[in-house]
């Protein structure tokens, strides 16, 4: 059993804290950007509760650039890095003490470098049921996002609704020319009821998802096989090769329950249950359904938090459970170019259990949060048996500091340290019967499954209030470095400028 080590960084410039403490809560940036909000992620997904989250309004127009580079891809499907540019606006408007509206719109464009074993967009969502080849290459992407919500209080009740829409395209401009076009719509409705010092919230969410996916070869006489992956290096051999047009149709439902202390002091609890399913269909053969991925997730958290006398404190615990089941439709006898489904078999199983404990402490101008957790993940393909299991322990410390809040230029400094260590991992594969390229792919995954990761990150934001206006300018810069025990590393950087109003 390996020991886990927690790294604690000490960044806050304590000499400045006396001045910073005076009226830090006056600024909208502090309220909206505080680390304290990391305790409120689940309630922010209930539109009714979100409408009561912030006292102040804040709108930001942003132009940012994000980049990441890995010396060797940690996850081959994600590539060795990316460079993305974003222009967007994000607003939260308090219309009255009872009503708030919020919205977001953004356009992101960029390049993902050296993506391999993936010819389908949204890998994290659809894995393992994607199209893939052995060659890969850089991909380009564009994404439009729109979101808007409204919430209001009616006596003891809060009601709210929210919509999020994403349209995305990922493509490659040389053979194999993959293209994935995604539309993703989520609708949320929520309500909350005040009993004593608590709000009890209930939100229901529904999602509709579609991706049109294809791979083209401009050199018609020179193609390579595209594999319909089915998990852990297996593929649906009969329809692998040259079936290169697919649809992914899906969606799902989620329900959230929240217990929130109305007056910033008390117990808080969240429960989220959701189920999503994604069907992969061939565009040929009468839209033959190949596979169905069903994802079930439960997340629970329980904690206690308070803001009192200028001090913030919280303790919390959480559990995440996930179960994915992949069903394969067995194709029958080919008849006139069409294949009936003669059986459906659940061949792929995935399980995740993640439990963590944490605590937050801070004052008005600074917060420190520490989390320690234990995660176990297993994937299995039924026959021929393939299995990958691993267990990690992880720890994270995040420190945030607001500086010079009474001045025209205000600073926010954020520093993070994370470490995860692999406690146990096992891999069972029919290597003797696998193609060499698939064996290499699995061996790569195995190396990173057994690896330890250490990340250090720092982020600095400066806000400047333009005199005699209600506008402000801001600039934001961040860097991160991750070291992996296999010998590879990752560096990340972010630059942003924007307008606040």
């Amino acid at each position: 059993m390996k020991k886990s080590y927690a790294f604690i960084t000490a960044f806050c410039l304590l000499s400045l804290t006396n001045e910073a403490e005076a009226s830090v809560t006056d600024t909208a940036q502090v309220e909206h950007l505080s680390l304290w909000n990391s305790l409120r992620v689940s309630e922010s997904l209930n539109p009714a509760l979100r409408s009561a989250m912030f006292v102040s309004s804040l709108s930001q127009l942003t132009l940012s650039m994000d980049g990441r580079k890995q010396s060797e891809a940690f996850v081959e499907e994600d590539g060795t890095g990316f460079l993305h540019t974003l222009v967007g606006v994000d607003t939260y408007l308090r219309l009255s003490d009872k009503t708030a509206v919020w919205g977001k719109a953004s356009y992101t464009a960029g390049t993902n470098h050296d993506v391999r074993w993936r010819s389908t967009a949204d890998y994290a969502l659809l894995r393992p049921y994607i199209l893939a080849d052995t060659l890969g290459g850089d991909t380009k992407g564009e994404c439009y996002r729109f979101a808007g919500g409204y919430g209001t209080r009616l006596g003891r009740f809060c009601l709210g609704g929210e919509m999020e829409f994403r349209a995305e395209q990922e493509y490659r401009e040389r053979d194999p020319r993959m293209r994935g076009i995604v539309t993703d719509l989520t609708l949320r409705t929520g309500c909350a009821y005040t009993i004593g010092i608590y709000d009890i919230g209930l939100a229901v969410e529904t999602n509709i998802y579609r991706q049109t996916n294809s791979v083209a070869f401009y050199n018609e006489d020179g193609v390579i096989p595209e594999y319909q992956l089915t998990g852990l290096g297996s593929d649906y051999t009969r329809f692998s090769g040259d079936k290169r047009s697919l649809y992914h149709d899906g969606g799902g439902t989620a329900i959230r329950l929240n217990l929130v202390p109305h007056a910033c002091r008390g117990i808080y609890a969240d429960l989220m249950l959701c189920e999503h399913h994604y069907e992969r269909k061939l565009a040929d053969f009468n839209a033959m359904p190949l596979t169905m991925l069903t994802k079930e997730r439960a997340e629970m958290s329980l904690g206690w938090r308070q803001k009192k006398g200028g001090a913030n404190s919280a303790v919390f615990s959480g559990v995440k459970l996930a179960r994915h089941v992949g069903d394969e439709n067995v194709g029958g006898e080919a008849y006139g170019g069409s294949y009936p489904t003669i059986a459906t078999l659940s061949m792929y199983h995935y399980r995740l259990t993640d439990a963590h404990l944490g605590a937050l402490y801070g004052r008005a101008s600074w917060n420190v949060i520490a989390v320690g957790g234990y995660r176990t993940e297993s994937e299995e393909y039924a026959y021929p048996l393939r299995r990958m299991e691993h267990t990690d322990a992880y720890a994270e410390v995040d420190a945030q500091c607001f500086l010079m809040q009474r001045r025209a230029v205000r600073l926010m400094l954020d520093a993070q340290a994370q470490h995860s260590t692999s406690l146990r991992s096992t891999v069972t594969m029919p290597y003797a019967n696998m193609k060499p390229s698939f064996t290499d792919m699995i061996r790569h995954k195995e190396r990173y499954l057994k690896a330890d990761f250490t990340t250090l990150a720092i982020h600095l934001r400066a806000d400047y209030d333009m005199p005699r206006t209600t506008y402000g300018l801001y600039a934001d810069a961040g860097m991160s470095y991750t070291a992996c025990s296999v010998g590879s590393h990752q560096t990340g950087a972010r630059l942003a400028i924007g307008l606040c109003f």
């Binding site: 209930l202 229901v204 297996s234 649906y236 051999t237 009969r238 329809f239 439902t253 989620a254 329900i255 329950l257 249950l273 959701c274 189920e275 399913h277 069903t294 079930e296 439960a298 089941v325 069903d327 394969e328 067995v330 194709g331 029958g332 006898e333 003669i342 059986a343 459906t344 078999l345 659940s346 061949m347 039924a382 026959y383 021929p384």
Partner: protein, 127 residues
């Protein structure tokens, strides 16, 4: 009463979410492949190797466990191509036995049912 309705609604919604998907974990079944002679001769003994290839996954299973004229093999449910080659001892009903080389083949056999899957193949004599 309102609390009861609220709790019932929450439980119903939660149940709806988590119980929608039915797994199909009965993925194996037994296949019985029977060989038939093209003439009226009856089969006394079969000594042959059967190669059963899953049409969808291309996994091959090999078996020589014939009992009478039937092969019994445990397989992943699905569609298969079957090739059987060997020798068969046939009797003409008057006590005359003959050993003949044979082949039996089919490009497609449906062996996808949960319970016993049955298929019949015609013998082709090679000699």
């Amino acid at each position: 009463m309102n609390h009861k309705i609220l709790i019932t609604l929450i439980v119903a919604l939660a149940s709806l979410i988590v119980s929608c998907h039915k797994e199909e974990n009965d993925i194996f079944s037994t296949a019985y492949i029977t060989l038939r002679t093209p003439d009226s001769a009856s089969i006394t003994n079969i000594q042959a190797q059967a190669v059963v290839v899953n049409v969808n996954t291309r996994q091959a299973t090999t078996s020589s466990q014939f009992r009478d004229s039937r092969l019994e093999v445990e397989l992943l449910r699905g569609a298969y191509s079957v090739t059987i080659e060997g020798v068969v001892t046939v009797s003409d009903g008057m006590g005359n036995e003959r050993i003949r080389q044979f082949r039996a083949q089919s490009d497609y056999v449906d062996l996808s049912h949960k319970t016993a899957n049955h298929a019949e193949l015609n013998i082709l004599y090679l000699d």
